[in-house]
């Protein structure tokens, strides 16, 4: 039985509520993980655990946290991701909308990008 997008959203929401001690109505598709939901780096390990277990999938770290791109001299200049770097990010993470980030691609702001909907789209690509 294939998992519908609705089912994926509900499971992702549940994982976030458990990991971040949130109320039910705090999780919305457009909410950013770091800015709106208050996720810290250790919370991402917790979230990844719960998602891997909940969906029976493996989530390689580099697919959600592209540190190799963000820390590479080939793709970052003066704290900003280069055009090549953005191209790499888009290839690595097709489930993320980078249009806002492209306006000012500061490495330190990257963490603020990921939304609940992005996470759902990522899961859909793994289980679909």
């Amino acid at each position: 039985m294939a998992t519908t997008n609705e089912e994926i959203y509900e499971k992702v929401k549940e994982a976030l509520i458990d990991a971040l001690a949130l109320d039910d109505d705090e999780v919305t598709p457009g909410a950013t993980m770091v800015g709106d939901l208050g996720a810290e780096s250790i919370d991402f390990l917790d979230i990844v655990f719960r998602l891997e277990k909940g969906f029976g999938i493996e989530i390689p770290r580099a697919e959600l946290f592209p540190e190799d791109i963000l820390q590479s001299a080939d793709f970052v200049e003066d704290g900003k991701v280069t055009a090549d770097g953005i191209s790499e990010l888009k290839k690595r993470m097709p489930f993320v909308d980078f249009s806002r980030f492209e306006e000012n691609p500061a490495v330190q702001d990257f963490g603020q990008l990921l939304t609940v909907q992005d996470l759902c789209r990522y899961i859909e690509s793994k289980v679909g």
Binding site: D18, A19, I42, D43, L45, D46, V48, F49, K53, R61
Partner: protein, 184 residues
């Protein structure tokens, strides 16, 4: 600095469950400092006891090749306090273990009385954090011997748990012995 918050393992099943006891004693300095005249074991040290019990269960699973640290207390509920003279039994169950870390459920009791229920998340440190061991291997094995881990340690099929060769070798080297000794 000594930082033992469990006294002895009572049960240790590889990859499944570990139980240890901690005796709360008036001789321990911090007991009275937190609440003068009303000594009790602080909640943080109860968490540490469960973290040590569960953390060794997680670490032993991969033969102590991973550097295991307590990363997050995902859930904790305290039901009562532990006072001098109490023997706390810490029971931990390995719920999930993956490359990046593990999830452990822990429970503390004093006799029939519930003390605490919690869930702990452990992380496996990778080389981005640091590339050295967290413990000196020979000292680490001495600690495991003191805690009687290998006296009670078993595989799920009941066969005895063996001491990891790299720990035995480090111990033999530290003591200037010709070869590793299982029973010391």
């Amino acid at each position: 600095m000594r930082w033992f918050w469990i006294d002895r393992f009572e049960e240790f099943i590889h990859g499944v469950r570990a139980c240890a006891i901690k005796n709360v004693a008036l001789a321990e300095d911090y007991l009275d400092e937190l609440s003068p005249g009303h000594p009790f074991l602080p909640a943080s040290l109860i968490v540490e006891g469960l973290a040590q019990t569960g953390g060794l269960l997680v670490a032993q699973y991969n033969g102590y090749q991973e550097r295991v640290v307590l990363a997050k207390i995902t859930r904790a509920k305290f039901h009562s306090v532990a006072c001098p003279g109490d023997t706390i039994r810490y029971e931990t169950t390995l719920d999930d273990i993956r490359n990046d870390g593990a999830l452990v459920t822990g429970r503390g009791t004093v006799g029939d009385r519930p003390l605490v229920d919690l869930e702990l998340m452990f992380a496996h440190l990778d080389e981005r954090i640091a590339d050295h061991d967290l413990f000196v291997p020979a000292d680490f094995l001495r600690m495991l011997r003191i805690l009687k881990l290998y006296d009670v340690g078993r595989h799920p099929d009941g066969s005895p748990l063996e001491i990891e060769p790299h720990l035995l070798e480090a111990e033999a080297a530290a003591m200037g012995l010709g070869s590793p000794q299982t029973n010391l």
